[in-house]
Amino acid sequence: MNLTAIDWIIMVLYFVFVLGIGVALKRFMKTSTDFFLAGRSIPAWICGLAFISANLGAQEVIGMAASGAKYGIATSHFYWIGAIPAMVFVGLFMMPFYYGSRARSVPEYLRLRFDEKTRGLNAISFATMTVFSSGISMYAMAKLIQTLHVFDAPFQALGLPMSAIFHVSIVLSALIVLAYIFLGGLTSAIYNEVLQFFLIVAGFLPLVYLGLKNVGGWSGLKQQLPTAFTHSWQGMSSAHTNPLGVEWFGLVMGLGFVLSFGYWCTDFLVVQRAMAADSMSAARRTPLIAALPKMVFPFLVILPGLIAIALPTPAKMSMNAGTQVVVEQQAGQGIIPAKIDEATGLPKLDQNGKPVLDYDLAIPQMLLHYFPTGILGLGLTALLASFMSGMAGNVTAFNTVWTYDIYHAYINKNASDEHYLWMGRMATVFGIALSVAAAYAATRFNNIMDFLQLVFAFVNAPLFATFLLGMFWKRTTGHGAFTGLLSGTLAAALHHGLTLPQGAVVGIKGGWITAVKFYPSEMAQNFWTAIWAWSVCFVVTILVSLVTKPREDKELVGLVYSLTEKPSEGHLPWYQRPAWLGIVVIALALALNIIFW
């Protein structure tokens, strides 16, 4: 990679701003509420942008472009089906309980609504998960910096060994995230997420513009790609006629309902952003405002993947540094190179003898392909920003859940507010230290990471059933919720053990009990695992609740739909009323689905 002074100036300036925000906010961090909840004082539009930006981690920018290159525009289902409806639902129907109950975290809501054990289960699994996600984000970033040779030139100039690039990348990113959260808490994380949001748009919009101009716009792209790549719903009637390998029911129920609602409606990482809002109506508007940019994000992150695969494969690498990559270029498709076997230096091949493409390089390759020095620095900074916002989101969620739901609940119940503020800062430090450890674990034991992510998927899948019943059926009991969650997780594990995607090897991909059912794709298997987990949790929670003693109505005011006064928004202009915003958002999402049918 050929970076010049201008690229470095942009990158360094960005980090100066990031840290500057942390420093500027330090003096406002006086109580634990300031630190963990941003003093509940953030306007809706800022919370809304932070809401999507916290989710806009590496998985999104790198992963969605990769899926775009692999599956085509059908990847947009992860947005238009797999995010928008859930975002509208959490804003309109669930935020009144999260915000109105004055709970400081999602696990704390579970304690208010159910009992201590349900909260404990959720808090501990969530805290573990955030640490690992942040570690994986860190690992992916360091790996990418290494692959793209970003730091090669300065390392050479300073006479440092190339092998240190990976470690320096990890330590540097950890220190930056640590510094700004330690100083400014959630406010700092939210402000930086907004900054990152605009930076990501600023970095990728010109990329999409140049790419589309080059391939002749959307119609030009259509001509150069198979039909299935430019239609999101055609062929969804059967799993065998679309690139995702999922039929519409599995897609809508598994992704659109269970997984999407489970994430957007219960994951404290995103809900925390809305809880920081300055009023109930701002909290309800947060996910709705977030839904508007979320809806058009496919054009920013999926289109580059499509363009990358449609471009002619160059015979020679356009990169100057690292001459060894010329061979892999010829084995790629579009400008996406094949994966290289590190032992032999030759492209990796699948069972059919075709090279395995390294789809994760779609976005980086696009940046290198179209961006001259100058704007390249901007694009690269945007990419790094996306990694950091994903990390920071996890860290702020971790320090809050650790301090309020684990430390305060089980370790030290009666300390002063200053002590909890101090604990929050300490939690930030050791949360990041644990993430670094997780990042190194990922380099050594790739399988362990896959395994952990699988376990988290099992734990998360049933969550939404618990929240749905808890918020909308006052009869639901704590015992019901707890047993429901456990049996849902168990059901997910069993389903995974009994099924296998076609052509996969028994083990981490499933079938470890005995494979009785085969799915056409891994995605289909994932969606159905989620559907089973959710259904089992739903049924078990109802059954157990019916035979256990419910709580009295008066204890559940503000926690359950039927016992809570509906928030009135009559004094607001229509465009600020959550219900109207929700309708607008749904209508726009429908229109997009129809346009790209």
Binding site: F17, L25, Y191, T373, G374
Partner: protein
């Protein structure tokens, strides 16, 4: 809380815009081969500068309210919003 986020955003993008504009004017035109012959640094730099200036204009401290005064005002406004929400509820 405390600081209007539009100010740092505006400042950062205005600076990025100026940098890209300056570099776009001075840089050798041959580097724009990969960006389809467009001077993308100059063009996008102008867009970023405009965006940055708009953000700065929106976030500027209102006349008569110094930074310190503005902090206090913000703190008072937030609870006031909530009470009005409740009273009309």
């Amino acid at each position: 809380m405390g600081m209007d986020i539009r100010l740092p955003i505006g400042l950062m993008f205005a600076v990025f815009g100026l940098l890209l504009i300056g570099f776009g004017i001075l840089s050798d035109k041959s580097i724009y081969e990969r960006s389809l012959g467009l001077n993308i640094n100059l063009g996008w730099g102008i867009v970023l500068l405009v965006f940055g200036l708009v953000m700065l204009a929106l976030g500027r401290p209102r006349a008569g309210a110094a930074t310190q005064g503005k902090d206090e005002r913000n703190e008072k406004v937030a609870p006031a919003c909530e009470t009005s929400t409740r009273s009309e509820a």
